[in-house]
Symmetry: C2
Subunit: 336 residues, 2 copies
DNA sequence: ATTAGCAATCGAAAAGGAAGAGTGCTAAAA
DNA sequence: TTTTAGCACTCTTCCTTTTCGATTGCTAAT
């Protein structure tokens, strides 16, 4: 447990460094941040904090920057999570008022809004299809050889896909298919549609393989498709001073270009509502020089997508977390 | 019209510069590229080509690099468009064999393939909805207050959307809607669905505004939605030496992050099958340091999407154009 | 417990210099 | 007339050296 003054010094250094991106000197803190001590006193505290692992030096005679432990302490103990202005509240509210017919659109709007307010690169994936139950499947004949399958789930999510056939099929056949599929699949989990089921339907139902197979194939494909990934404000990161280093910039581009990696990150580790991973705390080593903040938007057990921010370790945690909390609350209030 | 030897020198310089990204010296060309002359002779030719505007120097005592006029001459007169290996042909063919149910998926595959083979950043937009005619609209009731509208067009394209209502609607109502809409819209251009039509339907058909309005609103929204933009291999550009300049890298990120700009670019200027814009030739001044090569994939009058490559002016035009030509041909053969 | 004072350290920027690559030009060779 | 050898000149790149200033840690005074 840190003494009160050490906390103040640590907080001042973290915030100053977040603002300026320059190592913080002892003298720059005197008479600021409620620290009315001489630079020598601050210097002693800084030396202690460094020994305890909260601060680092870039070289012998430089000012201090926070270590990952320092950031972590700041995030856990010192950070204010109401760092959001009236204008921002207003702006967010307006944005989220937008009427949408699909949840994914809302996730998209939230992503853009967060990126606009925080000026960090923001990403999101749509809701997971795991754990969803099939409520009903509808088939609509669009042409003599073109059928649309519409799957309704228990959460109100709708997935549709088009199946093309090699030969004509009749309305009568569609009716049979409709009956068969609903008979077998109503109330079942979405991922039941795999090969065993295919065999079953074909064998047990004694229905033409030429008709059943393409349907199952296509439905399988659609439900196993990767969750859609949204990315907003990749260029915003390039205005940050840490991106003056070409190595950092290239690293960043490689990361956000790697869609599977991003999806993984947004999919993992949800201990809390809002999760902060600082540098090496990230599971993926590629991210060791960045921080990630994610939050899962859900109502009850209904997963509605995940939004994440990626930025330098010197991220404005306070602002980002405040904005996320507010958006999270707003989304919950909307009650979708 | 350039003399034969000048052409050879120009071609050699362009190709050498594309390969090495270093200004090309007179001595590096002797005994290469079918140029059996001394460096002094080459030097004289280079001086002439520079006077004529085809070459530039980065400073007084440097080798030469092609000017935009030089690249243009190379692309128009000197470039080989069969610069594609057997392995590449095989790879492309395999990729394009993939069975897809929707055209957009094919565009996506082509985009990825091009990026993989050329190592340049590749983008694409799906087919334009302009000029499409409505063949039929189907309505499917998904729940008491949820309706799906499925629009079939003359090109076989399918667009569907979900409409939510404030009050229950019956199967009977859906039938009426179905009849009304098809009656009025069959054979009409897709973009007929605008406000006047809304007024017309509501007034003339004397049908509940509460039902008609949300349907029209939603359909309007869907058909006016931006065409989907695909982007592949943004990180690949960062391996190019020109991206060692931070200004260039940042510029590039800003460009590809600007989706409207990218969409505009892919939408404009289709004089030929394959279009090359070198540096300042680009309409958008942001692109003055880059080259863009686009091609529109169409069969007959049916627009099936546009694919574009963006890279430095020192782009491997020969490779890119060869690959595009081959893919274009393959897509045409597939006949979708 | 705090602070003033000061030598010591190190990075960043400026200045200087050497090496090398490439050109243009002149005069000789083909 | 065309081509080439030869060489002075130019300019970049890289390396070293120097200077300047910011900041620290330590010691002794408050």
């Amino acid at each position: 447990m840190l003494e009160e003054r050490k906390k103040k010094v640590l907080q001042a250094i973290v915030e100053e460094y977040i603002n300026t991106a320059e190592p913080v000197s002892s003298s720059s803190l005197t008479n600021n941040y409620d620290l009315n001590y001489s630079s020598a006193t601050i210097r002693n505290e800084m030396a202690d904090l460094e020994k305890a692992g909260y601060l680092e030096k870039t070289h012998t005679s430089s000012g201090r920057i926070p270590s990952e432990k320092g950031y972590r302490y700041y995030v856990d103990e010192l950070l204010k999570d109401d760092n959001i202005s009236l204008e921002e509240i207003k702006y967010i509210s307006e944005k989220l008022e937008t009427k949408v017919n699909e949840i994914e659109d809302l996730t998209k709007i939230a992503t853009t809004t967060i990126s606009e307010i925080t000026h960090y690169t923001t990403l999101a994936i749509g809701p997971s299809t795991e754990d969803l139950l099939i409520e009903e499947i509808k088939f609509v004949l669009l042409g003599p050889r073109m059928l649309m399958a519409i799957i309704l789930t228990n959460t109100g999510m709708v997935k549709e896909t088009i199946i093309k056939f090699e030969e004509d099929i009749s309305e009568k056949q569609v009716e049979t298919i409709n009956y068969m599929f609903n008979q077998k699949l109503k109330g079942q989990p979405l991922d039941i549609i795999d090969s065993p089921l295919e065999e079953y339907l074909i064998n047990e139902m004694k229905y033409s393989i030429k008709v059943i197979r393409p349907i199952i194939e296509q439905i399988k494909k659609v439900i196993s498709e990767d969750r859609k990934l949204y990315l907003e404000g990749a260029n915003k990161s390039f205005d940050l001073p840490e991106f003056n280093s070409l190595a950092v910039a290239r690293n960043f581009i490689n990361i956000i270009d790697e869609k599977d990696l991003m999806t993984d990150i947004l999919n993992s580790g949800f201990a809390k509502d809002i999760n902060v991973y600082i540098g090496d705390e990230n599971e993926k080593k590629e991210l060791k020089d960045f921080s990630i903040i994610t939050f899962k938007h859900k109502v009850g057990n209904k997963d509605l997508g995940t939004i994440g921010i990626i930025g330098p370790k010197r991220m404005d945690y306070s602002k980002v977390i405040s904005v996320m909390k507010y958006i999270n609350k707003k989304l919950k209030d909307k009650g979708i």
